[in-house]
Amino acid sequence: MSSDYIITAEHLTKKFGDFKAVDDITFNVHKGEIFGFLGANGAGKTTAMRMLCGLSIPTEGKATVAGFDVYRQTEDIKKNIGYMSQKFSLYEDLTIRENIRFYAGIYGKSNAFIKEKTARLLKQLHLEQEANKLVGSLPLGWKQKLAFSVAIFHEPQIVFLDEPTGGVDPVTRREFWNMIYEAAEVGITVFVTTHYMDEAEYCDRISIMVDGRVEALGSPGELKRSMNAASMDEVFLKLARKATRSAD
């Protein structure tokens, strides 16, 4: 396996009883890449992501994340990745500063590191005045931007984003993507799921899952050309319509 890869997955499979939630998927993610992980509801994205984050042991196949094995080195994986989702990101009843300190502490960062980086982060996000306010009082878009910053605060090699922009207004959604680009520029690999097809275009490469399998993999341009489609929307519809199993 090339060391240029931060994720390698070979024949990765997860069964629940007779049901193959993830059915023999093989793909690699390059270091520093923005990788879009798409699929209809129930296609197996969440199960696949849980395996890659060290939260669920595969039934069959091989995979490594940041060089660590998804069967034996799940704790190492957790230390070396960041994670945020639309549903769960920050503690609403802790302040902004407390949330940062809490997450950084969990990842074992030193007090000096936390102090210095918190100051820098608050300044970057223009949240210095709000630092001691409860996260619950922030507008959604701000929460999501803060959650992303917290997810990469411990400087992981890769960050997993599960529908990070769902319900976010169009202006803030784009500001969020600028933050993704900045993270990718400093070498953090971004693994992201989304239901917005315009966001699929912002990824270097995309995979599309249908019924537990990876049905398409490539750059947005490649996928559109090979499927003879004008937009990613069309690519997605053409593939997802083949699905035989029902949504989540």
């Binding site: 129930g42 937009s231 997802a240």
Partner: protein, 320 residues
Amino acid sequence: MEKSFLNKKPNGSPGDGAVVVENIVKHYGSNKETVQALRGVSFEVKKGEMFGIIGPDGAGKTSLFRILTTLLLPDGGSAIVNGHDIVKEYKAIRKEVGYMPGRFSLYQDLTVAENLEFFATIFNTTIEENYDLIKDIYSQIEKFKERRAGKLSGGMKQKLALSCALIHRPVVLFLDEPTTGVDVVSRKEFWDMLKQLKAQGITILVSTPYMDEAGLCDRVALIQNGQLLSVDTPQAIIGQYNRPLLAIKAQQMLRLQNDLKQYEDVEDCYPFGEYHHLVMKAGYREEQLRSFLEQHGHHSAEVCTIQPNIEDCFMALMKN
């Protein structure tokens, strides 16, 4: 009591307004930290219309729906739904509207059939009586009718919730973000179901955070921070966009965006799928833009004039 209200013509109510909303205000919290959920919202929905309330999370969509379905009292303003005042005649409204909340709120430990039966019974009707209305939707999940609602897939839950919201044959249907978090394919299917309901004469108010769903509505209200930015047909909202809009693509998209933001005739530049959308000041010169691009090394840049879509309009209105 109610009968007399039913017969009374509400004051100043326009003849064909299924929903008339006037200056509705709602805030939450104590005096110290109040959240202004709705800051004076007014609009009117005509009978039989498919009306979209489009805006991001936290814009006030759910508060508005809960007020119009009489589940929440406004702090100011008034509204009439199907001829009834939302405060004084709430009982009449509850019989005549259907409401599908954003969060799945059927009984998880009742079966599909039991849930439907339950909703039919509390509205004093039977499944048989109104089966024709839900047939197309319910028949898709009928083979699972002995399954508990909690064990259904997301798409099936949605169909059951819609069936339950329809079983008493409502005049006005409120759907709060029925397609949020749902993939493109299921979203298309859901909108097809709505079109069929509209064809049966039901007035539909539907909220969504997806701007691209605006085109599927007769008219839309764009909402942000508890205020309406615009209420009109999607075509008219697009028609009101008054700046030149370009789509642009080059080798290095991130650098292109940063460079263009420095250009004096550019009002805004933001990513939009494969292209960046470039909002120009009126009277910009194309040759000058071309030479600016050349100077900055974007040699093979592809530029063309485009029609704005609702998301462009929303962003322009937000920034105003």
